[in-house]
């Protein structure tokens, strides 16, 4: 943190600001994080392990992994397509598309969940048709996946758009002029150029996909062992005054957050490195 201030600020001001920021981080971020682990282990490791291995908890973990496992790859594809279209081609309605990509950031996740219920629920627009054909979306895994995809859509596209815009089209045109096909150009030139940015986006997208609560809560129906993801399971346990179990599952999510943070820092370091002078 060696930011040089353009004017000679008062030493006391600097110390006060640093203290304020540190106190804020400690009080609002660090303390709760520690509290999660302390509470989770308060009744011993055996209770902690039991809370994580009981069938409903395992089902919630599995479902969370499944949902992330489906929605992250989908958003990798959507994100690359959208970023590619926006940065390498000119077409009418481009700025509208960019606005739409940001929509999930500005809409409350609960609203997203409600919209899906309105569209695909039993009383919804497509409800009767879906029931007729025996397709369940709301209160089932497809709905949870759809809500998660919606909420996590911007992460990868937002990461790639500035990166690909900066890189321009020269590399791709060079590859084409050397006789490479479209797929070869993508796999051998475009993908390596964006790989760190893409990984970074995947990481953030995954963290959000596993942690999403609001939208998923509305469409899931909270069926224990069937449509409960980890965040929903935590809420149920908490509402049942089963604090130790709730914090045990929550500690897994907290660990995921810490892991994401470490990987993110590593990637940032790598990313800068590859932009600099030597090889990656």
């Amino acid at each position: 943190m060696s930011v040089s201030v353009p004017f000679r600020g008062d030493r006391m001001v600097r110390i006060a600001l640093t203290l304020a920021a540190t106190a804020f981080v400690a009080l609002f971020l660090l303390l709760p994080l520690i509290a999660v682990f302390v509470e989770a282990l308060s009744k011993g490791v055996a209770v902690f392990v039991a809370a994580l291995t009981e069938p409903d908890a395992l089902a919630a973990i599995k479902l969370t992994l499944l949902v992330a496992g489906i929605s992250v790859p989908l958003n990798v594809i959507f994100g690359i397509c959208a970023a590619w279209a926006i940065t390498k081609f000119d077409f009418p309605g481009k700025s509208l598309l960019i606005t739409f990509i940001d929509l999930p950031f500005s809409v409350s996740p609960v609203v997203v969940g409600l919209v899906y219920v309105l569209l695909f629920g039993a009383q919804g627009w497509f409800g009767p048709w879906l029931i007729e054909h025996g397709i369940r979306i709301i209160f089932a895994v497809p709905g949870i996946v759809m809500a998660t995809v919606f909420v996590t859509f911007p992460f990868i596209a937002r990461e790639l758009i500035p990166l690909m815009a900066e890189q321009g089209r020269d590399d791709e045109e060079a590859a084409l002029s050397l006789g490479a096909g479209g797929l070869q150009t993508f796999l051998r030139v475009t993908l390596p150029n964006i790989r760190w940015g893409l990984l970074y986006g995947v990481l953030l997208c995954n963290a959000r996909a596993m942690g999403e609560f609001g939208a998923v809560s509305v469409v899931s129906g909270h069926l224990r062992g069937l449509t409960n993801t980890m965040p929903l399971h935590v809420e149920i346990l908490y509402n049942e005054y089963n604090f130790t179990a709730a914090f045990a599952v929550a500690s897994l999510l907290a660990l995921l957050a810490l892991l994401t943070l470490v990987l993110k820092s590593t990637l940032e370091w790598k990313f800068d490195y590859s932009h600099g002078s030597v090889r990656h």
Binding site: S177, L178, G276
Partner: protein, 350 residues
């Protein structure tokens, strides 16, 4: 032979090219010269198949290739900012074109590597095959880009401002080297530049472009000595331009005869263009134009003298051999024009 016929291209409301016709001879080194926005890069990209004309035809050796993409035209393209693949070694960059060929035509790996090494030798970067582009200087990167383009054995080499991103000294060396390489290989080559010196030094023929049209095509000597328009006269090499009135075979500036014209000319308004070195400065004669010296600086072996003429605010540049002391600033001299060209007041040849 490459022939362009009536090529037009618009970007939105901006007409980048307006009915351009051009023939490129086999083995020649051609420069597309013009200011930014003149359409020269667009024309190059259309020849490459990286851009497509709204109208007109591109022919390679009589075959219509207008609709073919860059991959099917067998052209080598060198980008201003090199466009090297930064995650690949120099050797892999050069071998890329061979390694993406369909399986049946693709040479074995060892063959690709040895061919890439040969090409690196050709561009004088022998031992650098294992480096990454980021570890090379600008001039070296541009040579790698050239080697990479040559690896696919193109029938035409296209270079977009190949020296634009390099500093002056490297630029000069690379220019000389590229000229030699061209003579050695005899490959038809076309390069885009906005630097008239570069065009005159390198090219067999220069195509001067302005506002989406070709103003003149000719050898460097022709373009410099007999510019076809006021624009070419002023864009290629330094040129002074004075508004004159023509009367009975003489050009008058401020009612003073300053240049005797050869051949038939009408009467009326026109522009008289002359080079800084086509002028004599001395105490002044009957035809001499009074010049008030406002600035002097050295340009190699001569003084470049700047001054205003005949009490007007018009600035004229004059070259004086630097074997004597330069004229003092504020001194008044007489200027006689030895060679000049006449253009209509709107810039067309007259």
């Amino acid at each position: 032979m490459i022939a362009l016929h009536n090529i037009s291209k618009r970007f939105g409301t901006f007409a980048a090219l307006n009915g351009v016709d051009l023939t490129v001879r086999d083995g020649e080194f051609l420069a597309l010269l013009g200011p930014s926005g003149s359409g020269k890069t667009t024309l190059l990209r259309i020849m490459a198949g990286l851009a497509f004309p709204d109208q007109g035809q591109v022919r390679f050796h009589g075959e219509d290739v207008t609709a073919l993409g860059v991959a099917d035209r067998k052209v080598g393209f060198v980008f201003q900012h090199y466009a090297l693949f930064k995650h690949m070694t120099v050797l892999d960059n050069v071998g890329f074109g061979l390694s993406v060929r369909p399986r049946k035509e693709r040479p074995p790996k060892a063959k690709i590597r040895s061919r890439a090494r040969e090409l690196l030798e050709l561009v004088q970067l022998g031992g650098l095959g294992d480096r990454y582009p980021a570890q090379l200087s600008g001039g070296q990167r541009q040579r790698v880009a050239l080697a990479r383009a040559l690896a696919v054995e193109p029938q035409l080499l296209l270079l977009d401002e190949p020296f634009g991103a390099l500093d002056a000294k490297v630029r000069k060396e690379l220019r000389r080297w590229l000229r030699q390489l061209h003579e050695q290989m005899g490959l038809t080559s076309i390069f885009v530049t906005h630097d008239q010196e570069e065009a005159l030094e390198l090219a067999d023929r220069v195509v001067v472009m302005e506002q989406g049209t070709i103003e003149q095509v000719g050898s460097p000597e022709e373009v410099y000595m007999t510019p076809s328009s006021g624009f070419v006269s002023r864009f290629v090499g330094d040129s002074n331009s004075l508004p004159v009135d023509l009367f009975e075979g003489s050009a008058y500036f401020h009612e003073r005869p300053i240049y005797r014209l050869s051949g038939e000319t009408g009467n009326g308004g026109a522009r008289l263009d002359f080079r800084p070195h086509d002028v004599v400065l001395d105490a002044g004669g009957a035809d001499a134009l009074p010049l008030l010296v406002t600035g002097v600086y050295r340009r190699g072996g001569s003084w470049r003298v700047e001054g205003t003429v005949d009490g007007s605010s018009r600035i004229v540049e004059v070259d004086v051999v630097a074997d004597a002391a330069p004229p003092a600033i504020g001194s008044r001299l007489g200027l006689s024009i030895k060679r000049a060209r006449l253009f209509a007041a709107n810039g067309a040849p007259q």
